[in-house]
């Protein structure tokens, strides 16, 4: 499977004024050594001698991740090199499943970068707090005292561990004023194992945290292609840890949900689920939770936690490409009207919708031609964990 290719020979965005811009690179090569060479060659052409402070590498699980990361790290030894496996990866001009996409940030974008892998042998919160202490030591200040208009975090989480809620909650404890944006690693829909990378370290159970000291204004985008319907429910019984809802408004969840979708519980399947997730509404903005399975004991299993007592709306699909374009335009306005780069974390369910509607070209164009790096995720993060959403960091 592969995403819709862009036109062959689409030129790279030309380097401007000696590399003072973020640059992206993409390779469809299946051989990891070849892919690394292509990524580095594209970077070098655009960087024109400048050394990046941070490099992001998003790659298929079919690649030899450690070897690829090592090659990039060897070429840019002063950069923090972070990455993860994906369910598809893209830059502003091309996308793939089975390939590699990357971005390098020069010092004119990020003055400094500090990275660490949080491991969870002693629990998620302990792992995050320990990692936050390390980042604070590297940055020279406790994360709690860093200026949120200058510093930003990127997180790349394992995509199989179902720990994203705990990770985001723990980041809220460790660094309440800082925003961490990111996504959960994928493995091309195999759902076996995902990998995250930081320099020479890798993990199948943890999260990479990268702290960036930004030299330019930045903003966040969070977009989903859904609008709330009139159907509104309260979660009255749920198993939060297993992300399963048993009752809506005091009645069996599958019955209530199916009726609102205009169907019956026996007909619930991926088509209904993808078109009708539920959303927690905050100031008119939906935070999407996507159901994906009816459990044997009549529960609705979600890709995301829903807390008992929460009120959710049944959602209807809208225009994925159009809403992405609008969200990116808003973020671009926030950074002064011209964005120089973006990191995007796009849900795998949105990729499947793009596959089905052959809309990958339109999706990439929604980023407005600015150097962009993204991957299709098994979960998106922005202050918390969300589904069927694209979260992004946009910088001037």
């Amino acid at each position: 499977m592969r995403t819709q290719p862009s036109r062959p020979g689409t030129p790279l965005r030309p380097p401007t004024s000696g590399t003072g811009r973020p640059v992206s690179a993409h390779s469809r090569a299946k051989d990891s050594r070849t892919a690394a060479s292509e990524i580095i060659a594209q970077f070098d052409e655009q960087l024109a001698g400048a050394m990046p402070t941070a490099v992001f590498v998003f790659l298929s699980a079919a690649h030899d991740g450690p070897a690829l990361m090592s090659a990039v790290r060897t070429r840019y030894p002063k950069a923090q090199v972070v990455g993860c496996t994906t369910a598809g990866e893209f830059v502003e001009r091309d996308g793939s499943v089975g390939g590699v996409a990357a971005m390098a940030l020069p010092a004119t974008t990020a003055r400094a970068a500090y990275g660490v892998v949080a491991h969870f042998e002693h629990g998620v919160e302990a792992g995050i707090l320990d990692a936050a202490k390390k980042l604070g030591r590297m940055a020279g200040r406790d994360l709690k005292s860093l200026d949120p208009k200058r510093w930003v975090g990127v997180l790349l989480a394992d995509g199989m561990g179902m720990k994203e809620e705990e990770i985001n909650d723990a980041l809220g404890v460790a660094a309440p004023q800082l925003v961490f944006v990111g996504g959960s690693a994928g493995d091309d829909l195999a759902f076996k194992q995902t990998l995250i990378f930081h320099n020479d370290d890798s993990s199948t159970d943890g999260v990479v945290l990268l702290l960036l000291d930004m030299a330019v204004p930045f903003a966040f985008a969070k977009t989903c292609s859904f609008e709330p319907t009139a159907h509104r429910f309260t979660i009255t019984r749920a198993d939060q840890e297993n992300r399963t809802v048993y009752e809506l408004d005091g009645k069996p969840a599958t019955e209530v949900y199916a009726r609102a979708c205009g169907t019956t519980p026996d007909k619930l399947g991926s088509e209904v689920f993808m078109s009708h997730p539920v959303g927690m509404m905050l100031d008119g903005d939906p935070w999407i939770r996507s159901p994906y399975q009816v459990t044997e004991n009549g529960g609705l299993k979600f890709f995301c936690r829903i807390t008992e007592g929460s009120e959710v709306h049944l959602m209807n699909s809208t225009d994925l490409v159009g809403e992405t374009r609008q969200a990116m335009a808003r973020a671009e306005e926030e950074v002064g009207g011209h964005a120089a780069g973006a990191l995007a974390f796009n849900c795998i369910l949105r990729r499947l919708e793009l596959d089905a509607t052959k809309a990958h070209d339109g999706f990439l164009k929604a980023f407005g031609g600015i150097p962009t790096l993204g991957f299709h995720t098994y979960g998106e993060s922005y202050l918390g964990h969300v589904n069927q959403t694209c979260t992004a960091l946009v910088f001037a």
Binding site: G172, V173, G384
Partner: protein
């Protein structure tokens, strides 16, 4: 704190900027399901909900007690 409205007022007094308030109320919303900016009447005087919200705020560095 007898109501979530009390919690909301105490939080607003403690947190200076609108940006910071938005950040913490969003984190609390995603963790507890409670929207402190638009408190639901059925949650406003629910002692268990108030305890949950105050606990979440304390974890995020805003101890109101």
């Amino acid at each position: 704190m007898q109501t979530l409205d009390d919690v909301q007022r105490a939080l607003r007094a403690r947190v200076g900027s609108d940006d910071a308030l938005k950040l913490v109320t969003t984190r609390v919303f995603l963790r507890t399901g409670v929207n402190l900016k638009q408190v639901r009447p059925d949650q406003n005087v629910d002692a268990a909900v108030i305890t949950k919200v105050v606990g979440a705020l304390a974890a995020f560095g805003h101890s109101l007690t």
